[in-house]
């Protein structure tokens, strides 16, 4: 019996948003009488934390703490259109729409504050804590609470804004394929270290070092969640998952979590995540979509590591013990 070690590398990029664009998302923002802000969307939170991120984007843009923003979403009677949560588009598309809506609302808010403070709106700034200050004279200030009350009950202004983000659709040129698939790309490089049991074909992923470039980590803890979970799914895709284990033979598809294989809590690789941020020109605060790409580079990195370990190429996913063992036996001199 021999346990053989190997390592492999892979580097990838990934487009943000629906391929070829044409996927709009809208947002509405308004203040309540006491200066809290409501973001209204129809986007869906799948667990990646879309609501939280939209709240942070709105808060940053308006100039209030995040806990003063409430996100109301996924209701077609109230929320304006969103193409949907997929294609790594949620943060990028909805985020841009929220920024646009929040800017418009902020402008009204500053105009009302300007009337209250008897200055020009362009001379005002927010402190991020819920106050509006005169630039250079911070002692002259008004709380956003008071501004909202004034807007509602004294000045008859709606502190609100509309946002719409659309990347115009690109149509591929028939003969050359000239097209614009995406406006920005996330990047990754993964190094995987594996052990392969050359008598059984079993692979243990010892470690993955993932470097992800995601534009901007809007909430680093939430980015980490998605990247760690994605790295696990990449390993899972590499070695375990399929609904048709004997494809193209249609038989023996798994119907439960016992038969549909995924790494369990006892199969976890040592996982390192490093994040780089090159802000994208059209991303909300520079963000790109990291949700999909984070599960991709582990797959080829592991395939390459398996080759490095035992000298056989498995070019068919998933890289099962059986495929490795068959390749090892085919390679053996006997």
């Amino acid at each position: 019996m021999a346990i053989r070690r190997g390592r492999g590398v892979a580097a990838i990029n990934y487009p943000t948003g629906m391929n070829l664009g044409g996927d709009p998302t809208q947002a509405l923002v308004h203040s309540t009488p006491t200066g809290n802000f409501m973001v209204t969307l129809s986007s869906v939170d799948l667990g990646q934390g879309m609501k939280q991120i939209m709240a942070q984007i709105c808060a940053e843009t308006i100039g209030v703490p995040t806990d003063r923003v409430v996100v109301d979403t996924a209701d077609t009677d109230t929320g304006p259109h969103c193409m949907g949560t997929f294609a790594s588009r949620g943060t990028h598309r909805a985020g841009n729409a929220v920024i646009q809506a929040a800017r418009e609302a902020r402008q009204v808010m500053l105009e009302v504050a300007a009337e209250e403070l008897e200055v020009n709106a362009s001379d005002l700034e927010t402190d991020g804590q819920g106050n509006i200050l005169v630039k250079g004279a911070p002692q002259r200030s008004i709380s956003i609470f008071d501004v909202a009350l004034s807007a509602h009950f004294k000045r008859g202004r709606s502190i609100s804004g509309r946002g719409m983000f659309l990347i115009p659709r690109s149509y591929p040129e028939k003969e050359t394929g000239a097209m614009k698939p995406s406006t920005c790309y996330a990047h990754a490089c993964t190094v995987a270290e594996v052990e392969v049991d050359d008598e059984t074909g079993e692979v243990t992923v010892l470690a993955v070092t993932n470097v992800f470039e995601i534009g901007r980590a809007l909430n680093p803890k939430m980015v980490e969640q998605q990247l760690v979970g994605g790295s696990w799914m990449g390993i899972s895709h590499a070695l375990y998952e399929t609904t048709e284990p004997y494809y193209p033979n249609r038989d023996h598809g798994g119907t439960d979590f016992n038969q549909y294989l995924m790494p369990g809590p006892g199969d976890l690789a040592r996982t390192e995540i490093i994040v780089l941020e090159r802000p994208s020109a059209d991303g909300p605060y520079g963000a790109k979509g990291p949700g999909e790409m984070c599960a991709n580079p582990q797959i080829p990195a592991i395939a390459n590591a398996v080759f490095d370990a035992v000298g056989v190429r498995i070019d068919t996913l998933p890289i099962t013990p059986e495929r490795i063992l068959r390749a090892l036996k085919a390679q053996a001199p006997n």
Partner: protein
């Protein structure tokens, strides 16, 4: 996780208040106390349960359907067949003008994959619906089926889907989406080595812990509220509106927190039939996939084959790359024609190659229709590309990481689909990986950047 702020610091403002802050998630307290409301956490008095009678065959003609015994079964309120669905033949991407309509909500005359929906049974209890479903009699004439993409593309293969009339999707560019850049044959002729390799995958399931489903409640004013875990509210509403020939203003979709999606909840499958059931019975209707349905009936990530032929020089430059990709759509299009062409926009990967030829095909076979999944159109391609890169590096005796540095795209480089590269960061990711994983490369590679050469 570590944020390495030293990279691209010149392009980034780091003085923000809320952005970049690890704020706690507002939804987590609901999750840890079990108070978060998922669509199925609602219960309506008089709610009916919908169970689907599914095809046991991969490909068959339906001679007849007899629902009489099922209709008489105690607790059964309604049994639906194709004739009950106002616009039974549909395709979801018709909303962005990608046709033709090629799929039935309930099978009409034919089934094209094992598991296809044939008859919907609505009953007072789940058990009654299951019992009645077992009493539906469908007389099938089994037809030859095709499962292998190569076989499907051969002349004389059984036609999977008559709405296409051929076993591949016809793009405006013909049988495949094409990218042509430079002269790939000249590149191969010039190359020191040419390596052609084939890669393959099989279908992969999203396997969210919460299965696909919805609950529809009549509002009493001819409107219907659909509580759903779709990933795309209006996309689903608009398709339901077409299928049911019902104005969109009669439909109210409510989502919320979804128990995992990963691309698996963008098909419009459960909602239209459940709304129809609610409309025809005047009762709330619940249609939730069983785990078995989630695993074998809901769309998986497509199986793909990718053949890559590369011309490479001894000094490490890739001078030509030809990629032929086939996406196994299963029996119906769903999102697959879109995914296959997304691959065409993704190849040849994040590398600058002067001569590129890409053909991506979307192929029909008699299996569960595939659709979008995390990394749609790209994941399997990246596997193929990056294993190929490893093989090429070893072929010419170069370190695999250095080989990638040598070919990595940078700002300003023209891509095969004729867009200049912007915002590249591949080189920096590899530099950091080199450090973090202790995989040293020559100093020259640690000194370069993704910014335009000479910039």
């Amino acid at each position: 996780m570590e944020l390495r702020k030293s990279y691209f610091a010149d392009q980034r403002k780091d003085d923000l208040h809320e952005i970049g802050q690890p704020r706690p998630r507002s939804d987590s307290p609901g999750h840890v106390t079990g108070k978060t409301t998922y669509f199925a956490d609602r219960n309506f008095p008089g709610m009916l349960h919908l169970k689907m009678v599914r095809s046991p065959h991969h490909h068959a003609r339906i001679r007849s359907i007899d629902t009489s015994e099922a209709e008489k079964h105690p607790g059964v309120v309604k049994v639906l067949t194709a004739k009950d669905v106002p616009h039974n033949v549909y395709t979801i991407l018709i909303l962005i003008q990608i046709g033709p309509e090629d799929e039935t909500v309930l099978a009409d005359g034919k089934v094209r994959w094992k598991g296809e929906a044939v008859v919907a049974v609505l009953a007072e209890t789940e058990r009654a619906a299951q019992e009645a479903a077992a009493k539906v009699k469908v007389d099938y004439e089994v037809l030859p089926a095709v499962f292998d993409m190569d076989e499907a593309l051969k002349p004389g293969a059984p036609i999977v889907n008559e709405y296409h009339g051929r076993n591949y999707y016809l793009y405006d560019s013909g049988e495949c989406r094409k990218v042509r850049f430079g002269d790939v044959e000249a590149g191969f002729a010039e190359a020191d080595h040419v390596l052609e390799q084939a890669y393959q995958s099989s279908p992969i399931e999203h396997a969210p812990t919460e299965t696909t489903g919805c609950i529809v409640a009549p509002e009493g004013n001819d409107r219907f509220t659909c509580y759903t875990n779709t990933q795309a509210m209006f996309f689903t509403l608009d398709n339901a509106s077409i299928i049911l020939q019902m104005p969109g203003n009669k439909l109210h979709f409510v989502g919320g927190t979804v128990g995992g999606g990963f691309g698996g909840k963008v098909d419009v499958i459960v909602e239209p039939i459940a709304i129809l059931g609610a409309k025809l019975t005047g009762r709330p209707v619940c249609f939730i996939y069983s785990r078995e349905e989630e695993m074998q009936i809901s769309s998986p990530r497509a199986a793909e084959t990718v053949v890559i032929k590369d011309g490479v020089m001894n000094d490490g430059r890739i001078v030509a790359r030809k990629v032929t990709g086939h996406t196994d759509a299963g029996a119906y299009s769903r999102h697959s024609p879109y995914g296959a062409q997304k691959g065409a926009g993704h190849y040849p990967g994040p590398y600058t190659i002067p001569n590129v030829w890409i053909d991506t095909y979307c192929v029909y076979t008699n299996r569960t229709p595939s659709s979008a999944m995390r990394g749609f159109g790209v994941t399997i391609g990246d596997f193929a590309l990056e294993v190929q890169m490893d093989k090429l590096a070893r072929l010419i005796g170069m370190d695999p990481l250095e080989f990638r540095f040598l070919n990595a795209y940078r700002d300003g480089d023209m891509k095969a689909h004729r867009q200049p590269t912007e915002g590249a960061a591949l080189i920096e990711c590899m530099q950091e990986a080199s450090r973090a994983a202790n995989w040293p490369v020559a100093e020259q590679f640690m000194a370069i950047s993704s910014y335009a050469k000479g910039a």
